[in-house]
């Protein structure tokens, strides 16, 4: 969503600097999976603040509802049951949604100028009025987050409540979380807090507790504290080493300006050929043979 902005760090499909006179503090949302009770208050708060409503779906016999992110459900709780040790069931509940990567694959892939922006505070936001609905961002995203609306062919995802944050408020999910599993603040503060949480979890027997702040995408502005940071996949398929990936790098990297230059060279080469070698005409001898024709 759009907010009049003076602090845009990066803008999709834009080769000149974006308005960036104002420098804001880098923010971070910390989701402590070990503290989450799966109440979905955040899911509700997100819909309430953003005023989106999902269609009432079907019960699939599990807590996940809706089963996946949609253009109206920008965050969903994902429930995994894990038995690492016999008889010791763990219920791992992960709040899924946009990770607000420092190197966003969606922004890199988007062909429409200004449809994806990254603010200097780290939030990655879609400006739907510039979106053309091609879905390249979905192709570029290492976390499978953006959803294309069937209603208007625009993509939607978590904004990290960029509107609230711009006004000095915390995101709606943070505001509502009853256990303090979601906290929000400056990047340094949140990293420090996460480190403390890891120490605490380790002291409680979670030897592999750790922070999920994947460096393959330059770190994220939504980070998790995980009980089993050595096995992120067990949290409903959290990718172990997310990155923009070689295919998207190839598709969106230096190859394109080079290819454009190559095409320009083909045109230039043709023009030079014409002026240096001249046209390819019927020879005089053959013309003579068919004099009647002219």
């Amino acid at each position: 969503m759009a907010l009049q902005s003076l602090d845009i760090k990066r803008r999709s499909a834009t080769t000149t600097p974006s308005p960036s006179q104002r420098q804001t503090q880098e923010v971070l949302k910390l989701i402590d999976v070990s503290k989450c009770i799966g109440c979905k208050a955040c899911q509700v708060a997100c819909m309430e603040w953003n005023d989106t409503r999902d269609a009432i779906g079907a019960n699939h016999g599990v807590y996940d509802n809706p089963m996946d992110l949609t253009e109206n459900s920008w965050t969903v709780m994902r429930y995994a049951e894990l038995e690492l040790e016999q008889g010791k069931l763990e219920w791992l509940i992960r709040k899924d949604g946009c990770m607000h990567c420092a190197e966003p694959g969606c922004l890199k892939a988007c062909p429409a100028p200004g449809a994806v922006v990254q603010y200097s505070n780290g939030i990655v936001d879609f400006h739907e009025e510039n979106c053309i609905g091609c879905g390249y961002c979905i192709t570029g995203c290492p976390f499978n987050i953006p959803r294309l609306s069937k209603k208007d062919s625009k993509v939607y995802k978590c904004t990290l409540c960029s509107d609230r944050v711009a006004a000095g408020l915390e995101p709606a999910c943070v505001k509502t979380c009853p256990t303090g599993a979601i906290v929000f603040g400056s990047k340094e503060d949140m990293i420090r807090h996460a480190e403390e949480r890891v120490v605490d979890l380790k002291s409680r027997g979670f030897a592999n507790a750790g922070i999920y702040n994947p460096q393959g995408v330059g770190g994220t502005h939504v980070i998790y504290v995980l009980q089993h940071a050595d096995r992120p996949e067990v949290y409903c398929g959290l990718p172990r080493n997310p990155s923009i990936g070689p295919m998207v790098e190839l598709w969106k990297g230096a190859a394109k300006p080079l290819a454009s230059l190559g095409l320009a060279m083909v045109v230039a080469g043709a023009a030079f050929h014409y002026v240096t070698k001249g046209p390819n005409e019927v020879s005089a001898e053959i013309e003579k043979e068919f004099e009647d024709e002219k």
């Binding site: 062909p111 879905g135 394109k256 290819a259 454009s260 014409y274 046209p279 013309e287 043979e289 024709e293």
Partner: protein
């Protein structure tokens, strides 16, 4: 001019109409596709009524071109089978580019270069259609896993670049070889032109060898 009995029919009205249908759709495809290719070309979306319209129209024009090109493929595939003479022609291509065709082997209706171009275009078109369908978000992309869509995006961009380069070359060859555009516009060519550029075809048309 049209009824000049001395001229030889090179392309029927149907062939000509279909060629220009493919040509126009190709140009529209290249302009609309390039708009998404790099921000420098994004202003091309204005030709199609904005970014959203460009996104909507491009794949449908692609389907149109694919049909029209498919007809050309079936019409010309036999005429484009490479023969030893064509390989010989291709090995002398440097002389041809230099503007000296005295030692070029006799070409049939299409010369070795045209045949090579034909097959490269067929390959590019096939890759473009297949990858284009995979990345067509409104209707088909949801059928494919992300890794396949990423690969198809690269394939589509690469094949489009190759095809645009080939077509620039094709257009230039038509401009360079005087009177060949007339063949595609009006259908008939002068006998002198035919003898000069497609000697074997010329003889065949004049009732020479079979």
């Amino acid at each position: 001019m049209k009824n000049d009995p001395n001229k030889i029919l090179r392309y029927t009205p149907f062939e000509r109409a279909n060629h220009w249908l493919a040509a126009i759709s190709f140009i529209l495809l290249a302009l609309s596709g390039l708009a998404f290719f790099h921000p420098a070309f994004y202003p091309l979306t204005q030709l199609f009524g904005g970014g959203v319209w460009t996104r909507i129209l491009h794949p449908f024009i692609g389907v149109l071109m694919c049909l029209s090109f498919g007809v050309m493929f079936f019409n010309y595939r036999k005429l484009n089978v490479m023969t030893p003479a064509d390989r010989e022609w291709l090995s002398h291509v440097r002389e041809m580019v230099d503007g000296d065709d005295r030692h070029m082997p006799e070409a049939g209706k299409f010369n070795g270069g045209q045949k090579l171009l034909f097959w490269l275009l067929v390959a590019s078109m096939a890759l473009l259609v297949l990858s284009g369908i995979v990345i067509w978000r409104s209707y088909f992309a949801f059928l494919f896993p992300a890794a396949v869509i990423r690969l198809a995006s690269v394939v589509h961009a690469v094949a489009a670049t190759v095809m645009i380069a080939l077509i620039i070359f094709h257009i230039y060859a038509a401009i360079w070889t005087k009177e060949s555009i007339d063949a595609m516009l009006y259908g008939h060519v002068r006998r002198a032109w035919a003898k000069q550029h497609h000697t074997a075809w010329f003889r065949q048309m004049m009732g020479g060898d079979k």
